[in-house]
């Protein structure tokens, strides 16, 4: 279960007490004043705040906070998105922006991830966002992910929801792309909600539709 906000604490504690979850995947950096480590539940470190595909590189202040948290919680790896966040070396224009899946962006991504991995001194697990636009370089985004992971010996988080969103939005078979990933690299399966847009054609990530505020005793 992913932890993004202290509003989830109560329900996560309930679920943990009932043996429904073994760990939480904390999305770093965490907001001021929050303390998911205090929940006493094992943590997998994750971040949506590093643009690993950016030509501008990765912000060291953000990376430092993720590294420190992963060390504190002894996370076996750190989850990273293959994404851009904007055109500058910091900040974010909104939700993860899929990069162009081309050779030059793959090369830049491999350099960024290799440096992050060295800096973290810890394995990295890579994942993709939901896809709408067909790749203009690699056969697909899954081939891009598989290639970068092989280049830098990274692990892979298979975001099943995002994978299926991509296949539906691009009119591909359900199992398309899986063969592009070395199965040995897959260490996490990520499942979240997906929803059909109001146009009744394109599918979207639906993390934001699931509010964890109810049923907390």
């Amino acid at each position: 279960m992913r932890w993004d906000d202290p509003i989830q604490n109560c329900r996560i504690q309930d679920a943990h007490k009932q043996g429904l979850i073994d760990y939480i995947k904390v999305n770093y950096p965490i907001p001021f004043g929050s303390n998911p480590h205090g929940l006493g539940i094992p943590v997998l470190a994750h971040t949506s705040s590093n643009p690993t595909c950016s030509a501008e590189g990765v912000n060291l202040n953000i990376a430092r906070r993720i590294k420190e948290a992963a060390e504190e919680m002894d996370s076996p790896w750190i989850g990273e998105h293959l994404s851009w966040l904007g055109t500058a070396s910091t900040g974010s224009l909104g939700y993860q922006i899929n990069p162009l899946f081309t050779d030059e962006i793959a090369a830049v991504t491999a350099m960024n991830v290799a440096r992050l991995k060295e800096y973290y001194d810890r394995p990295i697990a890579l994942e993709l966002g939901p896809i709408y636009i067909r790749s203009t370089g690699f056969e697909s985004e899954m081939h891009f992910l598989g290639s970068v992971a092989d280049d830098v010996d990274a692990k892979v988080i298979l975001d099943i929801t995002h994978w299926q969103i991509g296949n539906r939005n691009l009119g591909r078979l359900t199992d398309y792309g899986l063969a592009a990933i070395d199965p040995v690299r897959i260490v996490e399966l990520h499942i979240a909600g997906m929803r059909l847009g109001s146009d009744q054609r394109f599918w979207h990530d639906a993390h934001d539709c699931y509010r964890m505020t109810k049923s907390c005793r």
Binding site: P29, W84, G86, G91, L100, L116, T136, N169, H204
Partner: protein, 236 residues
């Protein structure tokens, strides 16, 4: 790759592709130009014509869906914070549109906004970028500004700042303890509008009361600017 010169060349090429693709995703003005003069747009972004095939076909429904989604996210966050400001803007002839903002350099530049209240740093939200862009572009600090637009934008932005202050926040937001104030009309010492951190609006006309506002630690919204923070180091 350990060859720093080769890496620099590669990153420069990737930087240009990244800049163009992101512009195309967000900015309808760039999209329109791309449809009629793609070669010229590539040239403007410092890219050779042979890179045309790196850029996706922007006429597909898939591209339109992603572009629409990205713009909508920004539009929602801004629209939710500035509903009356945007109504007022719509009422002004030849006023700015949302496209003007989303196609601006300020939208792309993290230093055009405030640090995110969560502490993640500069440029992680678009609300403050929008306010500073609007204040500058519509000259809301000038003597001859549209007073109604100024007061709606200032009230809505001050409300947002206080809301950010009220949750666990980056220390930058400590400045907004107590509330914010501003001259109703630039150049006229009174009345002064004060929005307290309890969301009560006061219209102040007593010069002695007005004089005390900065002394008790309240912030003049006309003085709030994006902080001039140094560039942050990157892992390059």
């Amino acid at each position: 790759m350990r060859d720093r010169t080769a890496e620099k060349v590669l990153r420069e090429r990737a930087r240009k592709l990244q800049a163009l693709h992101i512009r195309l995703l967000f900015c309808p003005i760039t999209q329109e130009r791309w449809l009629t003069e793609a070669d010229q747009v590539l040239h403007d972004f410092g890219l050779p014509t042979k890179f045309l095939d790196r850029i996706p076909d922007i006429t597909t429904d898939q591209f339109k869906a992603e572009s629409h989604g990205r713009r909508t996210l920004v539009e929602r966050s801004v629209g939710k914070t500035f509903p009356e400001t945007q109504q007022q803007l719509n009422a002004i002839q030849q006023a700015l549109t949302f496209d003007d903002f989303i196609c601006s350099e300020e939208f792309l530049n993290p230093k055009s906004g405030l640090p995110h209240s969560s502490g993640v740093g500069l440029g992680y939200e678009n609300v403050s970028k929008y306010f500073f862009w609007l204040r500058q572009t519509m000259s809301l600090k000038a003597l001859d500004c549209d007073i109604e637009l100024r007061n709606k934008a200032y009230t809505e932005f001050a409300t947002w700042l206080i809301n950010e202050y009220k949750r666990p926040h980056d220390p930058f937001y400590d400045d907004f303890e107590g509330g914010l104030y501003w001259l109703q009309r630039p150049g006229q010492e009174k009345p002064v509008i004060l929005l307290s951190d309890q969301f009560v609006v006061y219209t102040l006309n007593d010069p002695k009361t007005i004089e005390q506002l900065p002394q008790i630690g309240l912030t003049n919204l006309d003085d709030v600017e994006p902080p001039d923070w140094p560039d942050e180091p990157t892992l390059l």
